[in-house]
Amino acid sequence: MKEESLWYIFINASLINNFVLAYFLGICPFLGVSGKMETATKMGGAVTFVMIISSICAFGIHALLVAINAPFLQLISYIVVIASTVQLVEMFIKKMSPTLFRALGIFLPLITTNCAILGLALFQTNKGYGFIESLVYALGAGAGFTLALVLIAGLREQLDFAEVPNVVKGTALTLLVAGILSLSFMGFAGLGS
């Protein structure tokens, strides 16, 4: 049986099955912070970062749960462990690099229990990825999330200065742009096959 190449895992998670545009994960932060380029970039960085952490956590927890044969604890332990690890890391960053903390810090509490993060953990477990594969998957998902966020932010900044009809303004416009972007990302389908 052919293994998926790491390259394909990355492309798949970032472009073909983009977490935001194809899986609808992380829509809340997506709608919330995609208005400004600067926050979008930072949020993207923070999400990628947390995804990597949660991917590592999930890998470890899953191995443990298989060992003690307690699959029913999966969801609870994922969410608890991921949330607390992110908090530990947050405190660690706060100590080690105040600049990095200032850049990403305010976003971390917002996303620890976000569905994109938990979704990543669940998907990688479902797909049965190994450690390296999980990491690449997390990296791809984070990159894809950031890409989608940053693209939308640029478009929204431009649309701040457009004569958008009143009824369309706001969330509806963002969703429409996201829809068109989602269609455009369909061009990547089948890449790597």
Binding site: L151, V168, G187
Partner: protein, 339 residues
């Protein structure tokens, strides 16, 4: 004489005199030969598709303006361009009801929601086509061959499909050169491609006429020549390198250039200035991205053609290009950092 009330206006008091509606009208003139060849090659079906899409775009624009209590903007001719280009990217015997839906989507979703002319962040015609392609993928990849003997006498039954119904397949269908290459490794002769002796979308067959239209617009300074040059150049160079690496696997760069929608896309659709960057350097980058994406999607992607997706993706990137690429302002040591 000296007792007349004088007008006052602000300087400058003279202008170059080419106004937006003139530009748009000229784009229509430049597209007409392409459309005419399409009708010649595909017959009455193509004519109906083109007419339907233009009517649908213009009507939609008119009624949307009316609905939002604005003055109708159809006099600026841009809706006609959108309609023509949408029609030209559709298969010749595409059902008319779908064509009409495409026109409505182009104008409503591609243009109106963003605030109309000048504000759309994506190319409206391609938004329409992208939605059609995702909605009706089978109908939009059902091609009829060019130069059928009865093309002027009979209307295909799929063209006249009853609204909301599935078109029937007439039994006559041709594979496009790109699909033939991708799935069967059959390359089509480049000269046949250039002259349009192939099947494909209504407007993508005769590259020479498309180029002529482009040259006319460039000569009249109504189009940014850098865009087609960079798109086609990048696509040519990139596919040329691949071809040199392995000419068994990769098609020749000429085949790449003249097949599919690349020519029409590069000359008439990537050049829609509204959704492309504004600075010369930005435009080179934009064109380069389109060229690269087209080749990547065509060669490594699942779909045989990627011009539409490449242009839409580049449209999405262009605000960033404009944000990053800012010419150094006269008398400053560096341009302000992009915010």
């Amino acid at each position: 004489m000296l007792n007349r009330t004088l007008n006052i206006s602000t300087s400058p008091h003279i202008t170059k005199g080419i106004s937006t509606d003139v530009i748009m009208r000229n784009v229509v003139w430049a597209l007409l030969p392409v459309a005419a060849f399409a009708v010649y090659a595909f017959g009455i079906n193509a004519l109906l598709v083109l007419i339907t899409s233009v009517i649908s775009c213009v009507l939609t624009e008119h009624y949307l303006c009316k609905f939002s209590k604005k003055e109708s903007t159809i006099t600026d001719w841009s809706a006609v361009i959108t309609g023509l280009l949408l029609g030209l990217t559709l298969p010749p015997n595409f059902p008319l009801w779908m064509t009409f839906v495409g026109g409505v989507i182009s104008m409503a979703l591609g243009k109106f929601v963003f605030g109309g002319l000048g504000y759309n962040v994506f190319n409206p015609a391609l938004v329409g086509r992208a939605v059609l392609q995702a909605a009706f993928p089978v109908a939009i990849t059902t091609w009829s061959p060019a130069f059928l003997a009865n093309r002027f006498s009979s209307i295909s039954s799929s063209t006249l499909t009853f609204p909301f119904m599935e078109p029937s397949v007439d039994g006559m269908s041709g594979a496009t050169p790109l699909a033939a290459f991708k799935f069967d490794q059959v390359a089509t002769d480049a000269s046949d491609l250039a002259l349009g002796l192939i099947s494909g979308s209504t407007g993508e067959t005769c590259s020479l006429l498309i180029l002529l239209g482009g040259i006319y617009l460039v000569a009249r300074k109504m189009m940014n020549w850098r865009i087609p040059v960079s798109v086609l150049g990048t696509a040519f160079v990139f596919s040329g390198i691949l071809y040199l690496v392995d000419n068994e696997v990769f098609p020749s760069p000429f085949f790449m250039l003249f097949s599919g929608g690349l020519m029409l896309g590069a000359v008439f659709m990537a050049t829609d200035m509204v959704a492309s960057p504004i600075t010369p350097l930005g435009v080179w980058i934009y064109g380069g991205i389109i060229g690269l994406l087209v080749i990547v999607i065509r060669i490594w992607g699942g779909l045989p053609e990627g011009v539409m997706y490449a242009i839409l993706l580049a449209n999405a990137i262009s605000p960033h290009i404009d944000n990053v690429i800012r010419p150094r302002v006269y008398g400053t040591s560096k341009s302000l950092k992009p915010s």
